[in-house]
């Protein structure tokens, strides 16, 4: 079998923020009744995390649980563990109305870090990213220039961004342009 690669194939750019491809990441779309004890138990057993509250992201060792909509989560795990994780979800949710699908190769996963990270995203997303309004652990699906994207902020001040694989080049080039030295606005400085 051919080797899997990400759409950005390890691309990295250093401007007044650093944008880097996060490499192959296991991603699973889980739909179901997020309030049910079965779904909570299944997520816990599959990736060791709780079901996040509305518009929140929970992260653990190599795993993440992201709140996508009232009936949808995006679960992250190591790329080679996706099969096992889906099997665990299916086992735990047997008899329930749910959907668990491997979307690892349909998404692109990037990290935006450095002191200008907030500004790089704020230039291309209609979201209030001031430190008071957007705090670590928050997860936001929004529009990034011409494409949909979703991101969360971690305690270290880095953003983790997911978008569709088909627009990975566009998204990377867009963030690159936004992070070009000389383009600092200084809004959050």
């Amino acid at each position: 079998m051919s080797d899997a690669v990400t759409a950005l194939n390890g691309a990295r750019y250093e401007g007044f923020a650093t944008i880097e491809d996060q490499g192959l990441t296991g991603m699973i779309t889980l739909r179901g009744d997020l309030a049910s004890k079965e779904v909570k138990a299944a997520v816990k057993s599959a990736i060791g995390l709780a079901v996040p509250a509305q518009r929140q992201a929970l992260t653990g060792d190599g795993a993440a649980a992201l709140w996508m909509s009232p009936d949808e989560l995006l679960l992250m795990c190591p790329y080679d563990k996706v099969g096992d994780t889906i099997a665990a979800l299916e086992q735990a949710l047997k008899g329930q109305h749910f959907l668990a699908v491997n979307v690892s190769d349909a998404r692109c996963f990037m990290r935006i870090s450095g002191r200008g990270a907030r500004e790089v995203l704020a230039k291309v997303c209609p979201v209030d990213l001031s430190p008071d309004a957007f705090t670590p652990g928050m997860f936001r699906r929004t529009r990034m220039a011409q494409v949909p994207a979703a991101f969360w902020l971690d305690e270290a001040g880095a953003f983790h961004l997911v978008c569709f694989r088909s627009v990975a080049d566009y998204a990377f080039d867009l963030l690159k342009a936004s992070a070009r030295p000389g383009g600092e606005v200084g809004l959050y400085a």
């Binding site: 996508m68 909509s69 699906r141």
Partner: protein, 109 residues
């Protein structure tokens, strides 16, 4: 520019994060209905100068549909509520009445 609050995920976002989906509170006349009913359902839309009810979708966010009441003249958003609502909730009607006493929209007032 409208600022809408999605009642499904709670995000308050600007218009470009959403997509308008036509008139709200339509009663569908499909196969088997009379030509007149179907014609009215299909083509006769409200085009008010004032309060209007529209379906919107949070297409760059949670992906859910909801209903927004807004003013076509001032662009004021009177409020948003879930798509599973068959008529405008009282607090939305009150908000419109405060601005436009005596308003009507289809069978609602």
């Amino acid at each position: 520019m409208l600022i809408l609050t999605c009642p499904c995920c709670g995000v308050t976002g600007e218009e470009t994060e959403f997509h308008q989906g036509g008139e709200a509170h339509l009663k569908r006349f499909g196969p088997g209905s009379s030509d007149d009913d179907f014609h009215t359902y299909m083509f006769a839309k409200e085009n008010p100068k004032g309060a209007h009810f529209e379906r919107w979708r949070h297409n760059n966010g949670c992906g859910k549909w909801f209903i927004a009441a807004r003013d076509t003249v001032t662009l004021e958003v009177y409020g948003t509520y879930p798509a599973q609502t068959h008529e405008p909730p009282q607090h939305i009607r009150d908000a419109i009445t405060a601005r436009r006493p005596g308003w009507t929209w289809r069978e609602f007032a």
